[in-house]
């Protein structure tokens, strides 16, 4: 810690403690809504609505929301839909992005910069500009309510991001290694598998994680194109909002269940994630 070092030892310690206390207060206040939701999720519905704690805490609401009532979207269905859509779309994204990143980083094609910026420019295209044709054709081809339509769209959401990220990780692979492999006549596929992937593996994992997070949290396409039985986790959470009776504790439990996988994954990969989010522009 170099900054502001012209203080006495005692003052410096006081300043450190002061900063620490301030950071803790700010941090805890900022995540208070999350903590409160977690707390509510363990309450009974009466306690949650009245903001009291007469009946103790327990996992009752978690078992309530995971047992489906007929005719209502069940946790199991939504979870499986989300899992399949998110995993399959991420795998395809990697399958498309790895060779593309190779062509943009290892042996950059002519005008590679334009291609790279074309990919990112698609992220600026408002979703509403393409949703009607997609909706109309999805209807025509009987894709409404299927997992496939979401897989197609989530690939489109994540592919530009993945290409940017993986390209920046590929740039760090020592050139000598690749050149040596080429002199040995190794094919692109084997170069990727034997030389590049092992070095870029942590970066590729971070990329995959980010794709998983964005796909898992996606709501707009899922709402438009995939209601009823094809619904994913965000819709399942919203389905727990009820106009009749108390639902606050159940909604809280559902929110926690729906967010937990992604939150834990994000916590574990926070350092790499920042680089991914900045599209590889920052180290």
């Amino acid at each position: 810690m170099m900054r502001g070092t012209r203080l006495g030892v005692g003052e410096r310690r006081a300043a450190v403690v002061g900063v620490g206390v301030l950071a803790w207060v700010v941090g805890l206040l900022w995540i208070f809504p999350v903590g409160w939701t977690l707390f509510t999720s363990f309450k009974t519905e009466q306690d949650a609505a009245a903001q009291t704690l007469h009946h103790g805490l327990g996992f009752g609401r978690y078992s309530d929301v995971s047992h489906s009532t007929t005719g209502v979207l069940s946790l199991q269905t939504a979870f499986m839909n989300s899992l399949v859509v998110v995993v399959v779309s991420t795998l395809i994204v990697l399958l498309l992005a790895l060779p593309a990143a190779y062509a943009l980083a290892i042996h950059p094609i002519h005008k590679w910069r334009d291609v790279l910026f074309f990919f990112i420019s698609t992220k600026f295209l408002p979703i509403v500009a393409s949703i009607f044709p997609i909706y109309v054709y999805a209807q025509k081809w009987n894709l409404i309510g299927t997992r496939e339509v979401l897989i197609f769209l989530y690939i489109g959401i994540n592919l530009p991001l993945a290409i940017w990220m993986i390209r920046s990780f590929f740039m760090e692979v020592p050139r000598e290694l690749i050149e040596a492999a080429e002199i040995d006549g190794t094919s692109i596929f084997n170069q990727l598998r034997q030389v590049i992937m092992p070095i870029a593996a942590p970066g590729i994992a971070a990329t995959a994680l980010l794709c998983l997070i964005f796909a898992w949290n996606e709501y707009f396409y899922a709402l438009q194109l995939n209601f009823a039985n094809g619904s994913t986790m965000p819709q399942w959470v919203v389905a727990n909002v009820s106009t009749r009776g108390n639902f606050l504790a159940k909604l809280s439990a559902a929110s926690i269940i729906a967010c937990l996988p992604v939150v834990i994954a994000g916590w574990a990969a926070q350092k790499r994630m920042i680089r991914g989010l900045s599209m590889g522009a920052l180290k």
Binding site: V16, I31, P33, W36, T37, F152, P160
Partner: protein, 312 residues
């Protein structure tokens, strides 16, 4: 928008011979490129065509009328639509407020977290949580548990302090949505600015210290200029996502007065109930034109960051 540039990139070089070295280099790129063109550019072109017709959803109308070409009627209608203008204004306010506030708060958090203290890693981990939550869940948490006049914590606290209760969402719809957006995006800005602070060369700061510069002077003259590109990047990426905000609006107000941004308005006109795909496409095209203007500027920022990286 830069599809044309990409096309040029593909056509140049030895056209025809698929085994030329230029084509072998491009081959690994093609699947990804074709996929993105198919899923973003084609629908956009179809949207332009729709915007010149009176296309409606057949399943939603009792008397289906044949789709016909109406020229620029949809655009003329849009021009005189006060609600559309209001939606644009809401979009601008929502994006600017949310991006600026999260950038400022995120920078303050980053400065705090750049210091060493007990539990630094834990606090950083906790702070990024809101960003990882599903936007839908974040909006529901705030709506039901914080803002609600029935079960909301905020009104409990206000009541405890002797204030009257506030109908946050119905009286301040825009403020409520911006609050949730800022809550989610501040951690993101914090992470980016933190990366900037930690990449600052410490020898220059040391030298400034030796020369007797004050902490504030160092921050203003050395740290802030260094942070500039990080702040720009944060603003740029934040805007991309926040300008498209949909989830929070859908969950919190359902597009009530003062909180309908452009994406939500277009949605209301079409698959959200209006089912006028032709007219709604015209709105969408106008949004894209705005987006192109903003994106051209934004991409320039990104590109300058990028050139710095190349040089480094």
């Amino acid at each position: 928008m830069t599809a044309a540039a990409a096309d040029v990139a593909l056509k140049k070089g030895q056209v025809g011979d698929p085994f030329s070295s230029a084509w072998r280099r491009r081959l690994p790129l093609l699947p990804a490129l074709l996929y993105m063109v198919a899923i973003t550019q084609l629908p956009f072109l179809v949207s332009i065509y729709y915007s010149l017709t009176n296309l409606k959803d057949r399943t939603q109308t009792l008397i289906p009328e044949p789709t016909k070409f109406v020229g620029i009627d949809n655009y003329r209608e849009l021009y005189s639509d006060p609600f559309f203008r209001q939606a644009i204004w809401t979009s601008v306010k929502m994006t600017v407020l949310a991006v600026l506030l999260s950038l400022v708060i995120g920078t303050l958090f980053a400065i705090l977290l750049d210091r060493k203290f007990l539990g630094q890693g834990l606090i950083r981990t906790l702070l990024i949580t809101p960003f990882l939550l599903m936007p839908v869940v974040a909006a529901l948490i705030w709506k039901q548990q914080m803002f609600s006049s029935l079960f909301g914590v905020l009104n409990k606290v206000l009541g405890f302090l002797g204030f009257n209760s506030v109908q946050f969402i119905s009286d301040h719809p825009l403020g409520s949505i911006v609050t949730v957006l800022v809550w989610q995006w501040t951690p993101f800005m914090m992470l980016i600015v933190l990366a900037g602070l930690q990449s600052q060369p410490s020898d220059i700061i040391e030298a400034a210290n030796v020369d007797g510069a004050t902490s504030f002077g160092i921050f203003r003259q050395l740290t802030l200029p260094h942070l500039r590109r990080y702040l720009e990047l944060g603003a740029l990426l934040g805007s991309i996502y926040i300008v498209q905000a949909f989830d929070a609006i859908d969950v919190m107000t359902g597009g009530g007065p003062g909180s309908t941004n452009v994406p939500y308005y277009v949605y209301q006109q079409s698959i959200g109930g209006g089912f006028r795909y032709g007219a709604a496409s015209a709105y969408a095209i106008v949004v894209v034109i705005f987006a192109i203007v903003i994106a051209t500027f934004a991409l320039r920022v990104l590109s300058s960051l990028f050139k710095d990286e190349e040089r480094a």
